[in-house]
């Protein structure tokens, strides 16, 4: 069950990235798949870009899965590895939130 959820979440996240690129005409190179860096370090998003993507993912999760989540919560902010650093970390984090 959890595996299916993660696949679904992964699909949602990549769809949101695609929409983000179209909407804001900004290229995010996702050649590295889930290893793609999003934010911080050599991340491809600036802070405004991250805000837009996070909001879009929160909305998509609510629309598609009927679950209201806040991605930038206390847990996310206090993690050693930021959920926003790479696409895979973000998917894992959403999976965790949705499962709980």
């Amino acid at each position: 069950m959890n595996k299916i959820n993660r696949e679904k979440i992964s699909e949602l996240v990549f769809n949101c990235i695609k929409k983000y690129q179209e909407e804001y005409e900004q290229i995010i190179d996702i050649a590295e798949g889930e290893q793609t860096r999003l934010f911080g370090g050599n991340g491809q998003l600036d802070s405004l870009g991250l805000v837009s993507l996070v909001v879009s993912i929160e909305e998509e999760i609510e629309t598609e899965l009927g679950i209201a989540i806040v991605l930038a919560d206390e847990k996310a902010m206090s993690r050693r590895t930021s959920p926003f650093s790479r696409i895979g970390n973000l998917i894992d984090y959403i999976d965790e939130l949705v499962s709980s």
Binding site: L48, S56, E59, A68
Partner: protein
Amino acid sequence: MNQIILITGSRKGIGRQLAEHFIALGKNVIGCSRSESDLRNELYTHFCLDVTDEVAVKKMFSQIRQKYGHIDILINNAGIASMNHFLLTPLITVEKLFITNFNGTFLCSREASKIMQKKRYGRIINFSSVAVALNLEGEAIYASSKSAVEQLSRVMSKELGGLGITVNCVAPTPIDTDLIKAVPKNKIDELISYQSIKRMGLIDDVINVVDFFINEKSSFISGQTIYLGGIIS
């Protein structure tokens, strides 16, 4: 596209008058308060909720997003007041004031901004008070909570500027509403004596400032607090 305006604390007082003002201008107004509103108009939608309840606030914004797809203006009017000497103030009063005045403003602003940023357009108006500028005795906690709202607004204006959202505060003088009904007359008179323009504030004075902040031409104005009555901060 018709503008969507959300006003918190719209059941009575300034919030109610603001709602009626914008309805008269043909705007779509969404209001909220802890109890039902008797305002009936095809342009008005009311949500019953506590602005400090994160789940309820998120649900309201989710419904707004699904129904309208956008929100243009948020007026964080909901607030409570309490006067007491600092030494005689129970902690629970401090918590109640901060939770409603600050947390409520924070929560609604955060959720509204998420929707506003998609259009790269939004106007957020927060409510401060002249109690901040005047450092009024007996209003340590109320003034502090409003001071926090002002500070939040200034930082928000920086963080949201790139998303096309402006954030400003209006700081009213005493106005004849329920908020000040328990304040003794001599206190009100004393407060008015500090003003450059010595009269009781009117709701129209507040509406005028809100109209200014939300005007299309005010896109270059953000992070500001306008004190009514000629109070100089």
